[in-house]
């Protein structure tokens, strides 16, 4: 008798399972079709670091003080800067990141006294070998500034030419997105 009731209740449970799956079958799909659709990446996503810039002047915050490079436990930051003509402080001219060594520990960001670096939200960095071993973050900064319609800051330019970047009369400040949110779909990036 036990076998009979067990068989019967077991069969009913199978039917329950089948009704559950057929309901899922007729429900809409819940996946993102990755290359065609992408999810919005959260702002707190910790991608590789990138240079922040002053949203009004378009000038990088970085003063090439090397504190980030000293704070880095993996020695993956190499940067250099000059003192542009007519300016008080130094500014960054090259910022190379060996992303193959970076462990995304955020120590560089914490060490920075000028709030000059932040995590980007790039997540799809598949590449040929060594493409990310020598990331040029200054070039990335220039691309980002160009993308929002501004002239990248040129530390080598004479002081008179460098100044106009500080007065973007045509651009209302509110329309300028922040560096991290101004990124287009990450797949289109180099």
């Amino acid at each position: 008798m036990n076998l009979v009731t067990e068989t019967f209740s077991g069969f009913l449970s199978l039917l329950t399972g089948l009704t559950i799956t057929i309901k899922q079958f007729f429900s809409p799909t819940i996946t993102t079709h990755y290359p065609h659709q992408t999810l919005t990446i959260a702002k707190k996503f910790r991608g590789h670091i990138e240079l922040k810039w002053n949203e009004e002047t378009g000038k990088p915050n970085c003063t090439a003080c090397n504190l980030c490079a000293k704070a880095c436990p993996s020695d993956c930051i190499v940067l250099d800067g000059i003192k542009p003509a007519g300016e008080k402080g130094k500014t960054v001219t090259s910022y190379k990141l060996d992303y193959t060594l970076c462990s995304l520990c955020s120590l560089c960001i914490e060490a920075c006294p000028f709030d000059a670096i932040q995590h980007s939200n790039r997540y799809n960095l598949a590449s040929l070998p060594n493409q990310w071993a020598n990331m040029d973050l200054v070039q990335r900064y220039k691309d980002q500034v160009t993308r929002v319609g501004k002239t990248p800051y040129d530390p080598y330019a004479p002081a008179a030419v460098a100044a106009p970047a500080a007065s973007p009369a045509a651009e209302p400040a509110a329309a300028i997105p922040s560096p991290s949110s101004s990124l287009p779909a990450p797949s289109s990036q180099p």
């Binding site: 076998l3 199978l14 399972g17 089948l18 799956t21 079958f25 799909t29 819940i30």
Partner: protein, 368 residues
Amino acid sequence: MIESLTHFFATPWGVLSRSLIYLLGICGFVAANAAYLVWVERKGAGRFQRRPGPTESGWAGLLQPPADGIKLLSKQLMAPPGSDKILFWAAPLMVIAPPLVCLAAIPFGDNVLARDLNIGLLMVFSFGSINVMALMLGGWASRNKYAIISAARVVSQNVAYEIPMLLVVITMIMVTGTLNLQEIIVQQGGGFWNWNILRGIWDFSGGGWGHIGGNIFAPITFLIFYICMLAETNRAPFDMAEAESELVAGAFTEYGGMGFGVFFMAEYANIVVGCALATLLFLGGWQSGLGPWVGTHLSSLGIWGTLIGVLCFFFKMYFLIFSVVWVRWTFPRTQFYGLLNLSWKILIPLSLLTLLLTSVTLKLPRLF
């Protein structure tokens, strides 16, 4: 036109061309089914898991099966060293040939039938059981421990499930009184309550309960048949032959390229044969089941009636095939002794009981 065609098919050349047409038709039918049931399976798996399934190649991934086929065909065929070469390559042929032969006896419609055999049902089952031997030979000949374990499993599983399967078929033969598949379908004409699965329960045309000539246990019989069909075709949750997570690919481990592809095609061809059998034994084959409402018999409508019949048959058969996919993506694989327990402790006693009770219900009315 139809008259001249029937006249032509009576001549010797007509007989030959008719055989050729059916040969090509059946091969094409099996190939198309094998290819596109894989697509159905993948799409179904996707939908059951709330994802879209193949989408990239062709519209809704419809070019995926040809792409897979071209990939498999372009691969090198290799037999592992130390394997029994003859048996190793005989196994894929032996596994695909029986379903092709079985389809020759299966009536797709009123006149759409390659060979009207008096013992069609017996032929389908005798050829259907070759499948086991092919899997066993393939597993044994490939000299691989996973394949051998799988071969042993296939044999014990198929022996266990052939018994209840044949018992329920005997039950149905007692009701139908014939092994001719076309005749079995013709008997189920009229309303859908004349289909074998419902025939014994209620007769809407005035017979009421326990309509004589039917089998009141037919729903249970159908269920046993369906479960055995899943087990015989090595489908989940009984896919012991190809238990990916335990046995790599089971008996097919050492097969590459189209050798593996043929096993894969044979699995779907066997599902088609199994579902076609279930359709014509229990669900009225090409009968529409709307006889009393339509008021005419399908065979009186000529070519259009045949076409509607074929569509009815395909509708039922593909619904069963869909249910096979549905079951696969609902239940996890059973354990092996659970599988054997189900057969020996539940299905065989149950099918024997229905056999006994059916014979009683068939004979009792005649005593009074």
